[in-house]
Amino acid sequence: MKSIFFSLAFILIGSFSFAHTKNIEVMANRAFPLGIIEATEDAVPPTKEAVELPAACWIVTIHASCGGIYPTQYCNEGRHGTLSQWIRSINTAACGPTV
């Protein structure tokens, strides 16, 4: 029981000091952007802009080359690829295969 308690305490204290050190580094990096304390990627928190990417989604209607009409969501956040790639993949799914 004692050993579990001490292990937990050790982990808690350890993570607190780590977080504390990290905060100091962050503050230092903000205060001295030119690097009195060397900036590291971990120490500098990402900016709000970097966290909240301006991803946008739209509902667009794609007219497939074989005649069908397909309303579809397209988001510019990467998974859909470029708009032209997305149009082509819908067209391929809608019109193919004709093996």
Partner: protein, 280 residues
């Protein structure tokens, strides 16, 4: 001022071009002949595929995809105003413009595989081409071949035969030591010469050499060949989804589709045995 703008535009275009065009070491085309009726043994196609190699990486996909990709790339360079829509209206306008402009250019790429062989990292990435969100299979690139004693001349090249097993199937390959390229169609590679022909034991899937170009030349080279957000999936998931797509096809997630359209898709996929190439 105009000169500065023009110079800026040219240099910017050059950066774009530099990112998406590469000098390939070789470009080899293959005919893919898949079964379309397993009971009668009827074969379909042929469908032309392309094997491109640059900087220790090979890519294998439908020749029509290569054509469509490069045409789309030229379209984007020529129509930058549609590249980044900001509103719903602009997005629809971009879709309509692309569809209208490219309708007469686009080639059919319904039978497609998309395979990337990374010879440095010794891994194969195989995209589940119909899936959305994007997914791919990732497996080590280490084929074990048994070289046979048979010899033949295929496509004018002196060949030896070799055997391997891959993805639940046994394959017989014919390779030519006269073409010292240890590469081949689809995922296959690692023989002491180019794979000229490869076929599974049932004869359902055959790749046959069509043409070779070993003089370095520029080709369109998509920097995001495998979507960077593509999820790595297991072989079981890859195969199960492929079987499902053949028997009960679905449109990519987020696409509205009517029951009638789905029934039509189902009819057309009856002969899509090419989706069953991978097994376990």
């Amino acid at each position: 001022m105009k000169t500065i703008f023009l110079a800026y535009l040219i240099s910017f275009s050059w950066i774009l071009v530099a990112q998406d065009i590469k000098v390939v070491k070789y470009a080899i085309s293959y005919d893919f002949i898949p079964v379309v009726d397993t009971l009668k043994g009827t074969l379909g196609g042929p469908f032309e595929f392309l094997l491109l190699h640059a900087d220790g990486e090979s890519r294998f996909h439908a020749s029509n995809k290569q054509f469509n990709d490069s045409m789309s790339y030229v379209y984007i360079l020529a129509n930058p105003q549609f590249a980044n829509p900001k509103t719903q209206e602009e997005a629809q306008e971009a879709v309509d413009h692309y569809t209208t402009e490219m309708r007469n250019w686009m080639k059919n790429e319904v039978v497609n595989y998309l395979v990337r062989k990374d010879f440095g990292a010794k891994k194969i990435q195989n995209e589940l081409t119909f899936a959305f969100p994007p997914q791919h299979l990732e497996e080590p690139l280490n084929f074990s071949w048994n070289i046979g004693e048979k010899q033949d001349t295929i496509a004018g090249l002196f060949c030896y035969n070799a055997y391997t097993t891959y993805g639940g199937r046994k394959y017989t390959a014919w390779f030519s030591p006269d073409v010292p390229i240890p590469d081949g169609p689809y995922v296959f590679s690692g023989l002491p010469g180019l794979i000229v022909e490869i076929s599974d034991e049932k004869g359902w899937f055959t790749f046959r050499l069509k043409s070779i170009s070993v003089s370095p030349h520029q080709r369109f080279w998509d920097v995001n060949y495998i979507n960077p957000q593509s999820e790595v999936i297991s072989r079981k998931s890859y195969v199960d989804q492929s079987i499902k797509q053949k028997n009960n096809p679905r449109m990519p997630a987020g696409v509205e589709v009517s029951e009638e359209q789905l029934l039509d898709m189902k009819k057309r996929h009856k002969r899509s045995y090419y989706l069953l190439l991978e097994s376990y």
